[in-house]
Subunit: 290 residues, 2 copies
């Protein structure tokens, strides 16, 4: 049984690596998409079984538009994985740090390497591209002299580029969290201890402390919170939160209670916390009909 | 007395417009910068008196890296303004909707116009650029055929481009919030009723509900909250919140109390809420030494 997984990036090393961590022993067919929108659209229109997208980063924080996408397309978060993002500066054979006057990468990657760029390459023109890997590919294929890309190490290996400098990101421990998305017909895994919720509060913003108090009372711990204004409804707010819990049954009961106190509640996913990056049981569960 | 204001964007229409709304009667010299970093750096190194940067948007939510910049550079939020962002599709004279096969703009602008692009221009290559206005400029100067830019109306007028379509953004009411930044030596304005705070909580994440309860008890209303993981400190969180208050003195007292209950507290700015986009009194206050 081959599983089709949509990822962002023409040949995006990091999304691909996230898939490899989660599904090392499965027969996976990657479906590269050139935007996060297309990843979620391909899940919805049944072209892909699952999608894997970056959702937050230790420096830039949440990738808020991706939360909106999950919500709008009614997808479910089914699993997660965390990758250490190590960035390398790479260019054509024969280049050195001193021959480079232009550096290309994805905007988020450029931001992660900002300190390095300002310190070591302040004279360089910085160009935002679609993807870390495809910028490297463009340098190789176009034989672009004086141009370097910032990307993962395996990108340099794949396109035969020379590594000019390594670990160029500001934080040596730069973790990015990726989530596995599926259609919301999937059951949540048995080993679940984490959930992503969206709720809307009315005009009394003070209500938020009541909601948090309720979660707190039942040992449901907040690990993340983001408010988003609701564009059509001034003074109303949507909140995206991630929570950890120990008792899945108690969690379900609290969620039912929570639904009675907020204006709108949506569970975006109930899954396992996966800091250790152990492989996903998602596919086995599906195959065995669990 | 001429005031130097740093803005992001080579000739960025929207940041420029924000400055015009805030300082219509002042002698302002714009200092265009090619990144948000350079805006804040120019304030810190005294090259600019103030900076104006976008901080949140009704669709994409908070621009989290800009919060991090304000915090890291120890700047103060001194005022705010909200702009309705109306987007136009523009190209060289002689082009029509049917002759376009490539569309350039800033990534956030492209996201705001995503529905239009997928519906009306699904065949077009979408190219992310540095800035809405500079992409339009490039089309004009490079005489780029078959290429359109998405930007504000005045950009089309400035560079003599033809408007192919108007109001191409998804939400007809797409508001972006801009803030005025200054060095943290400035006193907060007398008419202040809004504040931006950053606080860090320790390992007991449940503490957040206590903090919100404290604010709530004293009628300090939360209008925004974002948690950010602290990269070097797993399980500790920084929160960026915006609050509204009525009594400035009471607010100061609550802040003093708050400082005793959290691990770290920083006031990023105390200013007036400015939904009506009335001109800023910031410069008059400075001139008259208030």
């Amino acid at each position: 049984m081959s599983i089709k997984i949509a990822i962002q990036g023409i040949e995006s090393y990091f999304h691909h690596l996230a898939v490899q961590k989660l599904f090392p022993n499965n027969n996976v067919t990657l479906m590269p998409c050139d935007s996060f929108d297309k990843v979620t659209a391909n899940i919805t229109n049944l072209s892909a079984d699952f999608g894997v997208i970056a959702i937050e980063n230790s420096i830039a924080g949440s990738i808020l538009p991706n939360y909106t996408l999950i919500d709008r397309e009614n997808l479910q978060i089914l699993d997660e994985v965390f990758l250490n993002i190590d960035m390398y500066l790479m260019a054509l054979e024969g280049e050195t740090l001193h021959t480079i006057d232009e550096i290309h990468s994805h905007p988020v990657a450029l931001q992660q390497c900002k300190d390095y760029l300002m310190r070591v390459q302040p004279h360089c023109k910085i160009v935002e591209g679609k993807d870390t890997a495809s910028e490297a590919k463009r340098i190789k294929e176009g034989n672009l002299k004086g141009v370097a890309a910032i990307a993962g190490k395996q990108v340099a290996e794949k396109y035969g580029l020379k590594i000019l400098d390594s670990h160029v990101q500001s934080l040596k421990e730069d973790k990015t969290r990726f989530v596995v998305l599926g259609r919301n017909t999937e059951a949540s895994p048995i080993e679940a201890n984490k959930a992503s919720l969206k709720f809307i509060l009315g005009h009394e913003v003070g209500n938020l402390s009541n909601v948090l108090q309720l979660l707190n009372t039942f040992n449901i711990n907040l690990t993340k919170i983001q408010s988003l204004p609701i564009p059509e409804k001034p003074w109303e707010y949507a909140f995206f939160v991630d929570v950890l819990f120990e008792d899945k049954e108690l969690f379900s009961e609290v969620i039912t209670m929570l639904g009675k106190t907020v204006k709108e509640l949506k569970v975006l996913g109930v899954y396992r916390q996966n800091f250790e990056n152990t492989p996903s049981h998602l596919i086995e569960n599906l195959v065995h009909g669990k």
